[in-house]
């Protein structure tokens, strides 16, 4: 079967052949486009390590078929910094030591960017924790993650949040 899809990945439009309908968005990013920043943890929608933004919304890329994403705008961790200037969420994660091993961090950061864009959590730590619960951190850096998200939100301000990605 020879199928192809159009994706805009981190702002770059691409036509991508998909030779097997079983390929997920996660595998497409990692194995076909060499964007290995997005991590494969459980591959079953339980850990959130594979979180990316599709059309501005955070989803688990392991549970999205690449073919079904035809026409979508995808943002991954590789696209969030502007050259050497870190995204405010990245900077806040470093400032708050919001990681230990770092494997979940790309997923945490993409989830946090998605959360800030959704604008539902406000400055309530409880709502931030609830909103971030879809990405597990087995090192247990949750306290730092919550603080980082709250700080990044302040740094970005109202307009910045909408353009967070």
């Amino acid at each position: 079967m020879s199928l192809s899809i159009s994706l805009t990945v981190n702002g770059v439009a691409r036509d991508i052949p998909v030779d097997d309908p079983r390929v997920t968005l996660l595998d497409l990013l990692r194995e076909r486009l060499d964007l290995t920043g997005t991590k494969k943890g459980c591959d079953r929608g339980q850990c959130g390590a594979c979180t990316v933004l599709v059309d501005g919304r955070r989803i688990n890329s392991c549970l999205a078929l690449a073919l079904s994403c035809d026409g979508a705008h995808v943002h991954t961790i590789e696209g969030v910094a502007q050259g050497d200037v870190l995204h405010p969420v990245q900077a806040a994660f470093i400032a708050h030591d919001a990681l230990q091993c770092g494997f979940c961090t790309p997923g945490q950061i993409m989830s946090a960017i998605g959360l800030l864009r959704e604008g539902q959590a406000g400055d309530d730590p409880e709502r931030v924790r609830e909103g971030m619960s879809g990405t597990l951190c087995r090192c247990g850096a949750y306290a730092g993650i919550t603080d980082a998200v709250l700080d990044a939100q302040q740094a970005l301000g109202e307009t910045g949040r909408e353009q967070a990605a």
């Binding site: 079983r22 591959d43 309530d124 971030m132």
Partner: protein
């Protein structure tokens, strides 16, 4: 995962035709289906991708006061639709208590109704499961049964329906709109009340809903009357962690209260049976009563009157009584202005 054909129809007519063949399955958000396919639990020969079908992504007010929700509306979008959440707060709370933000951004209204059970033996292809393979037996019986059904189960299946969304919907008389066989070039439509949409296991646990091969859920409707409970409606859910977990037991409670007297009550339970469980006899007991502790406790007893353990899960019956009691009491106090920070949690500091 087994190889499959992938087709992306442009219209409902094309979708229904493409899915009529044996072995076909509809793909929408994919959050449950792809997981099942990766585990080898379902192996469709053809995926009919309805995630791009036009016309099914709107939330519309109906002239009669009801609301029409397209099957492709994402769980998160429905929960955060301000007008919808104001009129149907228990539905919004149930949605926000389910899964994670990532999954709610992908999962659809139609797909939520068709979630498969999370019974571990259903998921384990090495286990016998009548639902997965009719006649194979049920290995869940006698195994780890803590989270299995206490209502409506049979020897052939003790699994539960995992949906949160469906619990307040069944309490509020939601109706499922289904597109089916094409007759004379036109797609056939039928309406099915959500209460009759899912099947209890009986002797045929493999038959999970009224859907016939090829039939497609196109929308969900809530009647105008359902908005009459907006001032006193809650969804509460006990789970093994406060976020991102399925219900051990849950309940939707909705009341109409006039001058301190209940004029109408709606109660449904989740996590207790293979379908969202409407407790009609219990509802009737509250009409004309004041929402005091005694009335609420009596009602909770009645809601679980037919419950019996299917294994090591007698605790769920008492837990369900208590969660019904708590949900009714909190509903009587009044719907909070905003869904609490920890949606549906009985442990949340906000009422």
């Amino acid at each position: 995962m087994k190889i499959f054909d992938y087709v992306r129809p442009a219209t409902i007519v094309e979708a229904v035709a493409a899915a009529a063949e044996p072995g076909a399955a509809y793909l929408a958000g994919g959050t449950n289906l792809l997981d099942l396919m990766k585990g080898g639990i379902t192996q469709p020969r053809r995926l009919v991708d309805v995630d791009h079908l036009p016309g099914l992504e709107a939330i519309e007010q109906l002239a009669d006061g009801g609301v029409w929700i397209g099957a492709r509306v994402r769980n998160a979008d429905l929960a955060h639709d301000a007008a919808f959440a104001r009129r149907f707060p228990a539905v919004a709370e149930a949605l926000l208590s389910g899964a994670s933000a990532q999954l709610r951004n992908a999962a659809t209204v139609g797909g939520n109704l068709l979630q498969r059970t999370r019974c571990a033996d259903f998921y384990d292809v090495a286990s016998a499961c009548n639902k997965r393979q009719p006649g194979a037996g049920c290995e869940a019986r006698g195994g780890d049964t803590r989270l299995h059904a206490v209502l409506g189960w049979t020897e052939s299946c003790i699994a539960t329906n995992p949906s949160d969304f469906c619990v307040p919907l069944v309490a509020l008389d939601a109706v499922v709109e289904i597109a089916g066989k094409t007759i004379g070039g036109k797609v056939g439509h039928r309406d099915v009340p959500l209460e009759s949409f899912h099947h209890l296991p009986g002797d045929t646990p493999e038959r999970e809903s009224v859907l016939e091969p090829g039939e497609l859920i196109v929308a969900m409707r809530l009647p105008a009357e359902a908005a009459g409970f907006s001032a006193h409606a809650r969804y509460l859910k006990v789970r093994e962690r406060t976020s991102y977990a399925f219900a051990v037991v849950s309940t939707a409670a909705a009341l109409r209260i006039e001058s301190g007297t209940i004029t109408e009550a709606r109660i449904a339970l989740g996590g207790v049976a293979l379908k969202p469980w409407r407790a009609r006899a219990a509802e009737a007991m509250l009409v004309g009563a004041a929402p005091d502790d005694a009335a609420v406790r009596r009602t909770a007893e009645a809601a679980l009157a037919d419950a019996r353990p299917s294994g090591d899960n007698a605790f769920k019956i008492e837990l369900a009584r208590r969660i019904v009691t708590r949900a009714l009491s909190l509903a009587a106090v009044g719907t909070p202005d905003r869904v609490p920070a920890l949606p549906a949690s009985p442990f949340a500091p906000v009422p």
